[in-house]
């Protein structure tokens, strides 16, 4: 079963004990290497298909399994379609607890400060919204900043917004160009331009916590003169 606890399970691939270490060191190295290779083969054969299926069925972003000295981690990329598997020794602690957790720490502190302004819906006890909810509208509303001269790129996910090289005001972009990304627990979800045009104002500052569908970047549509040119 998926295992994410920080303490590795006791190794099943036994290393020789200290007392007979000297005599057996060389033999043990060879044996350990053999065992490692066998372990890798076995993990790949048995676990990768099962893990891929599990990851697919759970819609989790990442799964990790440990067995013996080995652990295997599958991460779903932001854009579905290809899979990355990582195989490394448990003693290599940098992977999971390093990179991704630091990112989360950053997200948390960055988010807490900025959330109130952007992802926050003002509570309305007794307010007009609370007492007379407006009907209908399961369709997402058209972004407020859109009109016939401009479109708005919205957030593809809930996370922290980061700008990219193409999000500088005035940059000419094509529909589908990446304007930046939203960091979802260390996984990038690209923010795509909804149209050809020029990058206008940023509606959300970089580093801000954003919700799904939040308006991020204005794209000014080309005027007819520009379109001809």
């Amino acid at each position: 079963m998926p295992q994410g606890s920080p303490e590795p399970r006791e190794s099943k691939v036994r290393q020789p004990r200290d007392t007979d270490r000297d005599a057996n060191r060389d033999a043990a190295r060879g044996a350990a290497r053999e065992a490692d290779l066998t372990a890798i083969d076995s993990l790949i054969d048995r676990l990768v298909p099962a893990l891929t299926a599990k990851l697919g069925s759970t819609h989790l972003g990442e799964l990790e399994v440990r067995e013996g000295d080995w652990r295997i981690r599958l991460r779903r990329p932001a854009t579905a379609g290809n899979w990355n598997g990582e195989l490394r020794r448990s003693s290599d602690r940098a992977g999971r607890s390093g990179a991704s957790h630091d990112a989360h720490g950053g997200t948390r502190s960055g988010g807490a400060a900025s959330t109130s302004a952007d992802a926050h819906r003002v509570p309305t006890p007794g307010g007009s919204n609370g007492s007379s909810p407006h009907p209908g509208g399961s369709q997402p509303p058209r972004p407020a900043h859109e009109d016939e001269t401009r479109r708005v790129a919205t957030s593809p996910a809930v996370g922290v917004f980061h700008t990219g090289a193409r999000s500088t005001v005035g940059t000419r972009v094509r529909q589908g160009d990446t304007l930046g990304h939203v960091d979802v627990l260390g996984v990038r979800e690209d923010v795509l331009s909804p149209a050809d045009g020029l990058v206008g104002e940023l509606l959300t500052q970089a580093g801000t916590a954003v919700e799904y569908g939040q308006e991020l970047v204005v794209i000014a549509l080309p005027t007819s003169a520009e379109a001809v040119r």
Binding site: P2, A53, K54, T58, A112, T115, S138, P140
Partner: protein, 456 residues
């Protein structure tokens, strides 16, 4: 206690958890899909955050979206409600890995009780009688036929994963078995991603009785009595009540005590429900455990005065129960009617639409847990539960009388609801005598049941 929690669910249970948060002084952030933007829990929450589109796979079933939402809104715990990811040990584990508390059993406990077949064996070894069943999962048709012969027909095919009646079929002959297994496998595969099936002996005229337990992190457990959920339609509960008319006071207490002893010994933690089938002679067989808050928890709240969601949160926060068994007293009788957006006249076809008028009934012993309001548009993407009407009385007769009055008073316009089936039940002789079994509706069919009630 937690400072701020993410409610990772929708509808009436999101509202119910929000209410528990308010009484505990905990801030509540409601995670919602685009289809629930105008929902009542979103409007009442301290903060609400859109986590994805209407498709539940990309919102309420998306662990990354939910956890990311919890992290950026500064929550320290996640309440999964029921359904969706509420019993998903993978989700519980990932929540924990992000230094958040999963309000429910830990991933290890969920894992231990994940397989229904494994749980039957585990709790069987701790003193609960179980229904005779297959030895492990069914390997193939010939294994299934052999096992069914050994157990004796009729048998019930059940999926190892999931619930809600999907992948379940009762068969009376070997001829039916093979085709039913094929259907169950494909239903279970598409509903739960797991087509493992097992067999149980089918008990004709059985009753469904479940025991509510609560176990804290220190291994101290209590029970909060039982609920009778015998009134079902195709394995879906539609009405629940307590105490069960199937058992006398001594038998009820004995069953509940045996249940809590078994789960404590098996290492369970947090609140949970043990489901039993009770046969004609009053023998109770354990069938499965639900590791979450249940839809029908208000029935227990009405009898005991205990806020089950608050209790669940306290246990998850690591607090001791603070209650012993002798603190739990049971008073009167309670009935819950599940009010669904479905049409009993058309095979319970689910509906959606705008609630044009809404009035919730009131009066002594009447409680309505619902997220409806006038003008609310019920989205078509999720389950059809509109709310739960719960009535309490000092005895069963009074509860039934209050139930009749409350169902008549309940007003929901703009949608077809199943209120008629509840009104028919309250006129049904078997129900009034307390003799209902799980096949009460399916035996004659809901249409015939309604027609009979209309003639009476």
């Amino acid at each position: 206690m937690f400072r701020r929690i993410l409610i990772a669910n929708r509808g009436e249970i999101a509202l119910r958890v929000l209410r528990a948060c308010r009484t505990l002084g905990v801030e509540a952030v409601v995670a919602y899909s685009e289809a629930d933007r105008d929902s009542l829990p979103v409007q009442l929450a301290d903060e609400a955050i859109c986590i994805g589109p209407a498709d539940a796979k990309r919102s309420y079933l998306s662990a990354p979206a939910l956890i990311s939402a919890a992290v950026i809104t500064g929550c320290d715990a996640v309440h999964p409600g029921y359904g969706f990811l509420s019993e998903d040990e993978g989700f519980a584990e990932v929540v924990r890995a992000h230094d958040l508390t999963f309000i429910g059993p830990s991933a290890d406990v969920l894992d231990r009780f994940a397989s229904k077949e494994g749980t039957r064996r585990l709790l069987g070894s701790h003193g609960l009688a179980t229904i005779p069943g297959s030895d492990g999962m069914l390997r193939d048709d010939s294994h299934a036929l052999d096992e069914a012969d050994r157990i004796g027909y009729p048998v019930l095919i059940k999926p190892s994963a999931g619930g809600g009646g999907k992948g379940m079929r009762m068969v009376r002959t070997p001829r039916e078995l093979e085709s039913a297994i094929r259907i169950c496998r494909s239903e279970a595969k598409s509903a739960f991603g797991d087509d493992s099936l097992y067999l149980e002996k089918w008990l004709d005229d059985n009753r469904h009785v479940e025991v509510q337990v609560a176990v804290d992190r220190f291994g101290r457990g209590i029970h909060l009595g039982e609920r009778d959920c015998s009134v079902q339609r195709r394995h879906q509960k539609i009405l629940e009540e307590a105490p069960t008319p199937a058992l006398g006071p001594a038998a009820r207490a004995e069953l509940a005590e045996r249940a809590v002893r078994a789960v404590v010994a098996a290492g369970y933690e947090n609140i949970g429900t043990l489901e039993f089938l009770v046969d004609r002679d009053g023998n109770a067989y354990f069938i499965e455990i639900n590791c979450r808050i249940q839809v029908e928890h208000p029935v227990t709240e009405m009898l005991t005065g205990i806020d089950m969601v608050a209790l669940q949160m306290r246990i998850a926060a690591g607090e001791p129960l603070g209650l012993t068994q002798s603190d739990i007293t049971f008073s009167g009788h309670a009935i819950e009617f599940r009010i669904n957006a479905e049409d009993p006249a058309h095979d319970f076809r689910p509906g959606a639409g705008i609630v044009s008028r809404y009035h919730a009934p009131g009066g002594p012993g009447v409680r309505m847990d619902s997220h409806l309001y006038e003008g609310y548009e019920v989205p078509p993407f999720y389950d059809s539960l509109l709310g739960k009407l719960i009535v309490w009385g000092p005895d069963r007769e009074t509860a039934i009388a209050r139930g009749r009055a409350a169902l008549d008073e309940l007003l929901i316009e703009g949608l077809t609801t199943n209120v008629a089936i509840h009104q028919a039940l309250l006129g049904n002789e078997s129900f009034l005598e307390g003799h209902m079994t799980t096949n009460l509706l399916d035996r004659v069919g809901s249409g015939a049941f309604l027609a009979a009630a209309a003639r009476a």
